[in-house]
């Protein structure tokens, strides 16, 4: 284990150094923006590096450590001065975030820091003690991660769960936190980093919009406590990755609108963020209206139409290293943005597999018969869908009335106490009084409407809107900045802090984990905290299977396209799995062919049950449990 930790440190040092070098080349020289940019670059470099290693079949701790060690020497020695300079600069900037010059809000600063500490403590506790538990992550997100880390390469899986083929940049980032320890204990660091970048971007947007440091920090804190976002900080779902990339793009665009400068660098960062985002989830394209609208405002304001040619014109004085870096980033971003779609196009003939894509009634990609659990994704725009989604949002979901906040956000927004109580009225205020805010709010609403036009009306669609609540927090901070009445400002701030505290309490168990589970997980050794040990879904079946099947045996499995495979890998991803379709009595032969002696079943159809029962009657299979069968040796 000590060697693995050293390898992880070497790998982390390499990607951190690469990110710092990249920051040195791409920094915007705007203090508040560079913090968010650095966080994003770290994620970008790590994802790209892991993806390249995975595609080349080098996704294995020892190999990564050797490659990273060589890379570290090549990067660090010539650029040691730059690295030191950049680290010093980053530390200074980070410190400046907390160096409040606004004495009036010093008590607020203490309260905000206390809240931030509480949130950090909750998140670290969840990362360390709670294994992955969210439905989608154990059905497909982390199944990808487990398979890649086990096989040492990125490859496409054979599984009945079609969603496993959706774009997976975020899973690539998660694989980085699993590959070194060969254990999923740190996997939740990936969403947490994205969560931090989303917060840093919210802070940057607030600063660009001329809010003071303390009000910008307040806005970022209020936003980060939004239950839907706070839960995703440790959920291993990928929407938080989209929120981070999207808000960074918005922050840079607003900075360009107000301040201009460093056009090429900022355009490059935005392109990188967009490519990373589109490789996480395609809905990054659906929420494009806000960036496009702000982009148009930039063009109008800076009369860029003539200047655009200048931005892209090759400068004779540009150094070779800059040109090489530029080409490298373009190629890297193209890979991140297109890899999954190209793979699906080659393997399935549909870049958006398993979703059908239509324009009107014309089928562009897919079979026209996409099978998905539940309604699935529509893959086309629909005004009826927009109407139904909007109505459901305004009349029902916004009240969060059906359940406690949870990662699935079933029939709720998950926007929580602050956004409903303080954010809605502040949004109306900012729309009326905030000239700078008007563009942001209107463009965000347009993005939301565009999103609602494309996504299906299912109980869980609000998970796509993690980026939206930032406008509530910004509007509230703007309201406070405009009130020239100390006691009224204090009352409103107290109300906001109360709501934020309620948001924190409401997500303590993320809506799913019982006190008994917390306690049991804390009693287990850190590396043994497996999803199979959690009791909120099927705990007996998974734990028993792991106990009954010998460790060196392959576990055959059969379940519908919403089955949980991930717990069967165990926390150290040591168990090998093989999908055994049960379509005829040949399935026992298939088991023998693949050297599979055990079969795990979950929610199988009556036809599949009948075939299994027949195999048991004929003596080919032996029933061990309701969910576990063993092949009889002939």
């Amino acid at each position: 284990m000590a060697l693995r930790i050293i390898e992880m440190i070497v790998g982390s040092l390499f990607v951190s150094t690469a990110a710092i070098r990249l920051l040195y080349a791409l920094r915007t020289r705007t203090r508040y923006l560079d913090i968010a940019v650095f966080g994003f670059l770290w994620i970008y470099v790590t994802t790209l590096y892991t993806m390249v290693l995975g595609i080349l079949g080098l996704l294995e701790a020892h190999r990564i450590a050797v490659i990273s060690g060589i890379g570290l020497i090549l990067l660090a020695i010539p650029g040691l001065r730059n690295v030191k300079q950049t680290i010093t600069r980053l530390i200074t900037r980070f410190r400046s975030l907390f160096a409040s010059s606004d004495k009036r809000f010093s008590i607020i600063a203490v309260l905000l820091c206390s809240l931030a500490f509480l949130q950090l403590a909750r998140i670290l506790f969840h990362i360390w003690f709670v294994p992955p538990y969210v439905w989608d992550t154990v059905v497909y997100h982390l199944v990808n991660v487990a398979e890649w880390v086990q096989k040492g390469k990125i490859h496409h899986l054979i599984t009945p769960v079609g969603r496993v083929y959706w774009p997976a940049n975020f899973e690539v980032l998660e694989a980085w936190f699993v590959v070194f320890l060969h254990n999923d204990i740190l996997v939740k660091v990936a969403p947490f980093l994205s969560y931090l970048v989303a917060g840093a971007s919210a802070y940057a947007i607030a600063r660009v919009l001329n809010l003071s440091r303390i009000l910008a920090a307040s806005a970022a804190t209020f936003y980060l406590f939004t239950p839907s976002l706070a839960i995703q900080a440790t959920a291993c779902k990928n929407d938080v990755g989209i929120a981070a990339a999207y808000l960074l793009i918005i922050a840079i665009l607003l900075d360009l609108l107000r301040n201009g400068g460093y056009w090429r660098r900022k355009l490059m960062i935005m392109a990188m963020a967009f490519c990373l985002g589109i490789g996480i989830k395609p809905y990054m394209a659906f929420i494009a209206p806000a960036p496009v609208l702000i982009g148009l405002a930039i063009v109008l304001r800076h009369r860029l139409l003539r200047g655009i040619r200048g931005i892209f014109r090759f400068k004779p004085g540009l150094s070779t290293s800059r040109i090489v870096l530029c080409i490298f980033l373009i190629l890297g971003s193209a890979l991140l943005g297109s890899y999954w779609y190209m793979r699906n196009l080659v393997v399935f003939g549909n870049p958006f597999h398993p979703t059908d894509v239509r324009i009107g009634s014309h089928l562009v990609f897919g079979t026209g018969n996409a099978v998905q659990y539940g309604p699935g994704q529509r893959g086309s725009a629909s005004l009826r869908g927009l109407w139904e989604n909007s109505r459901s949002l305004v009349t029902d979901r916004i009240f969060d009335q059906h359940d406690q906040f949870n990662s699935s956000l079933s029939n709720m927004t998950g926007w929580g106490w602050f956004n409903f109580v303080c954010g809605l009225s502040a949004l109306a205020y900012a729309l009326i009084f905030g000239r700078q805010f008007r563009l942001l709010i209107i463009s965000f609403i347009l993005s939301l409407l565009a999103l609602l036009t494309f996504i299906s009306t299912d109980p869980w669609y609000m998970r796509f809107t993690l980026w939206f609540p930032v406008v509530f927090a910004l509007s509230f901070a703007f309201l406070l900045s405009n009130l020239n009445c100390k006691w009224l400002r204090a009352i409103l701030m107290a109300l906001a802090l109360l709501c934020t505290a309620l948001n924190w309490i409401a997500v303590l168990n993320v809506g799913e984990i019982s006190v008994d589970d917390f306690r049991r997980m804390m009693q287990l050794p850190a590396l043994k905290r497996s999803t199979a040990e959690l009791t909120h879904h099927y705990e007996v079946a998974y734990r028993k299977t792991l106990q009954l099947v010998p460790e060196d045996e392959i576990i055959g499995f059969c379940f519908p396209n919403n089955g949980w495979a991930y717990p069967l890998y165990d926390s150290d991803l040591s168990r090998r799995l093989k999908y055994i379709p049960i379509e005829s009595m040949r399935f026992t032969h298939s088991m023998k062919e693949h050297n599979v002696h055990y079969l795990f079943v979950e929610r199988i159809t009556p036809e599949e049950t009948e075939l299994i029962d027949r195999a048991v009657r004929e003596g080919a299979l032996k029933k061990i449990e309701e969910f576990l069968y063993a092949l009889k040796e002939s």
């Binding site: 439905w135 989608d136 059905v139 659990y373 539940g374 009240f399 969060d400 009335q401 359940d403 406690q404 906040f405 699935s408 079933s410 929580g416 106490w417 409903f420 109580v421 303080c422 809605l424 009225s425 502040a426 205020y429 299912d458 109980p459 869980w460 309201l479 900045s481 405009n482 009130l483 020239n484 009445c485 009224l488 400002r489 009352i491 409103l492 109300l495 709501c499 309620l502 309490i505 409401a506 303590l508 168990n509 019982s514 006190v515 008994d516 306690r519 049991r520 009693q523 287990l524 009791t535 879904h537 099927y538 705990e539 007996v540 079946a541 734990r543 028993k544 106990q547 919403n562 929610r603």
Partner: protein, 88 residues
């Protein structure tokens, strides 16, 4: 920044609106948030009180679960997940 008078007028309107919205939200989501706080408090209190029963339960969960309560929970889960609305 608004004038003092405008600030008080706007601030009070916003405050009243916020309090109204809080009352609405309290009715809708309140029962879940406060219900959770209450149940959390009760669960923690129960754990702190009864250590013997707790240890027995923890042991049965940690080792191969043959206990009838776990089997019952499994059946409940199977019923629950055979339904439509169980994740996406």
């Amino acid at each position: 920044m608004h004038s003092k008078k405008a600030s008080i007028t706007i601030g009070l309107i916003i405050l009243i609106l916020d309090l109204f919205l809080m009352a609405v939200y309290l009715q809708k989501q309140g029962e879940h948030t406060f219900g959770f706080i209450k149940s959390l408090y009760e669960e923690i209190k129960a754990y702190r009180k009864g250590s013997t029963g707790r240890d027995a339960r923890a042991t049965s969960s940690l080792h191969c679960g043959n206990s009838s309560d776990q089997d019952a929970r499994f059946s409940r889960c199977a019923l629950l997940f055979s339904g439509e609305n169980c994740g996406q």
